[in-house]
């Protein structure tokens, strides 16, 4: 088979001692960058680009370094999610929901090991998907016009219902708040300024990393001050540092579903890893949450989003390579790197530059295998973080969060905003209003609006365009089921809880 030959050629190019050393170096660095709040995969890759030049790396070696940092950061993001309830970056957001409760139950090591395995599973299968169907899958992008994309986003928000809060009203509030915050800044299609109050800082809108770090890390510090660290995972016995075979077996179906959903979300340009992990989690919860264990430390709630976000990271490479459309911040930076090496991605890249593409794919496999191996000892090391007393650990992570945001944006305004989000997050948490929908709103709001407006421009304002294709109709059907089903279930199955 031709594919196999090409892939072998890729490995031949990639498997040199230098390249493997680079992969190990990149994986460790990426994991650390991913775990630090405020620095995510896109920053990780951006930080490393100058380094690749400084070393004078040739294209394959540079790509190996970048992909191992990319995936390292995807793996690393979950560490602070699980141990500290602070997602290091946006794809790791959903992992907090069950990962942190597991840590509080003394199962931090288990959660880390399982999520590492799920990450590998998702990334590895997605890379195989890329090998088998890369250029073919690029065609999926041609099926999603503005209306279909809008329906996809609407579905994402509709499945939010009851995701992180028992009170639907509060979940809607949080999503609405996120979407509203996303409106701040310059309106792309017309150039009107919206809600900036004349601040140049706000022209670019509210950076979602600032919101994430504020709503999670700073809020967590304030909760600590309130409880003096009594209700946290810190100081708890860490228990085993592997996942029991039974748990892994129990999660196999979850990982397969998470991978499939994440991969598809990744392939769609503009959806990206965060939507992948989010949908993987919410679908898994709908399917598997029979005993109401999700959100309370269910291992499947850790496996699903981690398989999902890593699969999405792999899938996102497809539109980047074949259409030149960067689906996420990280792929945008990778695109920049390719262009600097005089490689212009596009529909003919697979045909014109096979050695590069297959070298990249080989690099993806290598990075993931290296990460899997590294993660076995790493889990043991990271879990020890919880043994550090909170009076040292908490000021450290708070300050790292500040340094992370400041070093990236160089703006005092941003870190001030981060403190404001921290205070808001504290109040929201007290009132039981979930923070996750806010982040999603900020993350997806602008794209969602643009898709809607484009669809309505094409149809001259006719709303019917929004449900005029089989794809959009199916997406709306899922959205409506997702929105109504929990309400009906609650009404008919548990009438006593209606008022709570």
């Amino acid at each position: 088979m031709e594919t196999i030959t090409l892939l072998m050629g890729g490995f031949e190019q990639a498997l040199t001692p230098t390249n493997i050393a680079l992969a190990v170096f990149g994986s460790i660095l990426g994991t650390i960058i991913g775990a630090l709040p405020g620095l995510g995969p896109s920053n990780g890759v951006a930080i490393l680009i100058p380094l690749a030049f400084a070393f004078g790396l040739e294209p394959t070696a540079a790509l190996i370094l970048m992909t191992s940092v990319y995936y390292g950061a995807m793996y690393g993001g979950r560490i602070s999610s699980i141990l500290l309830n602070m997602p290091g970056d946006e794809p790791a957001l959903m992992t907090t929901l069950d990962g942190y409760p597991m840590a509080k139950q003394g199962k931090a090591g288990e959660a880390l090991a399982l999520s590492g395995l799920a990450s590998f599973f998702g990334a590895f299968l997605a890379t195989i998907g890329l090998v088998i169907a890369g250029p073919l899958l690029a065609e999926v992008a041609f099926l999603f016009g503005p209306a279909e994309n809008f329906a996809l986003y609407a579905m994402a928000f509709a499945t939010l219902g009851g995701l992180a809060s028992r009170n639907q009203g509060k979940a809607i509030f949080a999503a609405g708040l996120g979407l509203s915050l996303a409106m701040i800044g310059l309106d792309g299609p017309t150039g009107s300024t919206r809600y900036t109050g004349g601040h140049l800082h706000l022209m670019e809108g509210v950076d979602f990393l600032v919101a994430i770090v504020g709503l999670f890390a700073i809020t967590e510090v304030l909760m600590f001050i309130e409880h003096q660290g009594k209700e946290s995972a810190i100081g708890i016995k860490v228990g085993r540092i592997t996942a029991p075979i039974k748990t892994v077996w129990h999660c196999t179906g979850t990982m397969i579903r998470g991978t499939a959903i994440g991969f598809i979300a990744g392939v769609l340009p503009g959806a990206g890893a965060s939507l992948g992990s989010f949908l993987a989690y919410s679908v898994e919860k709908r399917i598997s949450n029979k005993e109401n264990t999700f959100g309370k430390g269910d291992p499947r709630g850790v496996a699903a989003p981690e398989a999902g976000n890593n699969a999405a990271a792999g899938g996102a490479l497809i539109p980047m390579l074949t259409l030149g459309i960067p689906g996420s911040g990280t792929t945008a930076v990778m695109l920049a790197l390719l262009m600097t090496m005089n490689i212009t991605p596009g529909p003919l890249l697979f045909a014109e530059k096979p050695d590069l593409v297959w070298g990249l794919i080989a690099a993806l496999f290598i990075a993931n295998i290296v990460l899997l191996i590294l993660n076995i000892p790493m889990v043991g090391i990271f879990v020890r973080l919880l043994m550090v007393p909170s009076r040292i650990l908490m000021p450290l992570v708070a300050m790292v969060a500040f340094a992370g945001i400041y070093s990236i944006s160089g703006s005092l305004f941003d870190i001030g905003l981060m403190v404001a989000f921290g205070v808001l997050g504290y109040i929201l948490r007290k009132l039981g209003i979930p923070a996750v929908p806010i982040i999603l709103g900020i993350l997806l709001g602008n794209q969602m609006e643009k898709h809607l407006r484009r669809a309505l421009t094409i149809s001259d304002g006719e709303l019917a365009i929004l449900w005029s294709s089989p794809i959009s109709i199916s997406l709306w059907a899922i959205a409506i089921t997702g929105l109504i089903a929990p309400l009906l279930l609650r009404r008919y199955l548990r009438p006593r809880n209606q008022k709570s």
């Binding site: 100058p50 503005p146 695109l335 920049a336 005089n342 596009g346 529909p347 990236i408």
Partner: protein, 332 residues
Amino acid sequence: MLLNLSRQMVIGGVVGIAAIATASTASAQFRPSATECIAPAGVGGGWDFTCRSVGKALSDLDLVPGQVAVTNLSGGGGGVAFASVVSGRGDDNDLLVAASTATVTRLAQGLYADATADQVRWVGSLGADFGIIGVAVDSEIQSLSELMDMVIADPSSVAFAGGSAAGGFDHLKILQVAVAAGMDDVTQVKYVAFDGGGEAVTQLVGGFVQAFSGDISEATGFIRSGDMRVIAVLSEVRLPGEFDNIATAREQGLDVVSPNWRGFYTPVGASQASFDYWSEALKTIAASSEWQEVMTNNGLMPFAKSGADFQSFIDQQLVDIETLSRDIGIID
């Protein structure tokens, strides 16, 4: 976000590498050290391409020591970068900012708030990217006049996709064509703004819009792969090389020429020596064989201007675009 990422590239950049520039010409007084190029938009767009390709050429030709750090400072169609250069980097000798006809368009339309073109110095251009109008390869439309007949008969039947905002450069092209075709109310033309040429072409190929208005460099991949048919190029004469089978709009009786030059401006307070240095450096690049190859790969045409020549070209273009925008009704 992209803005954020790239500050790092700047910081981490170049420092360690020690190749001293062998400045061939111009000033002995100015030597570039840590040169930065600001791309006023996200990664993957035209400005980003300008910074990266020219940055690489500067470094390959030893016109700068080490690498040129590229910063993506997106927002406001280049307005954020323009404002921050004017207010914060006004005397930086080691700064180039990517610019194009789109920059001049927005300045002419007064879309950079109070900013004016004389707040920066226009150092030079290296090539031009000509506008094209394209349709999907399975479209029935074969020529620009056919397309414009459809638009005039029923404006809502044709949606144009482009990578610039409403009133921006891609939109303006199609409005110019509509004016030339004798359309009375050009506000009727349906234009859908996407986040860049790549996304717009994808939507065209997917069949969600009927036509594409953009630059040829944004679409070369899709033209070569046979997904897109270009029905007109907005240049004075046909493009050389592989694109010489594309008819100009002028040939089809619609006299619209839309060169999107690619070049740079520098801060107004930068030293004259540095200005001369960069203007010479750009000339050197434009003449190099490396640059010829970049242009061929990306569908760019020669368009090298620098110094006073470039300045007077910019002045004229500002006037032209302002007049046009006023006539069409984009500005009052």
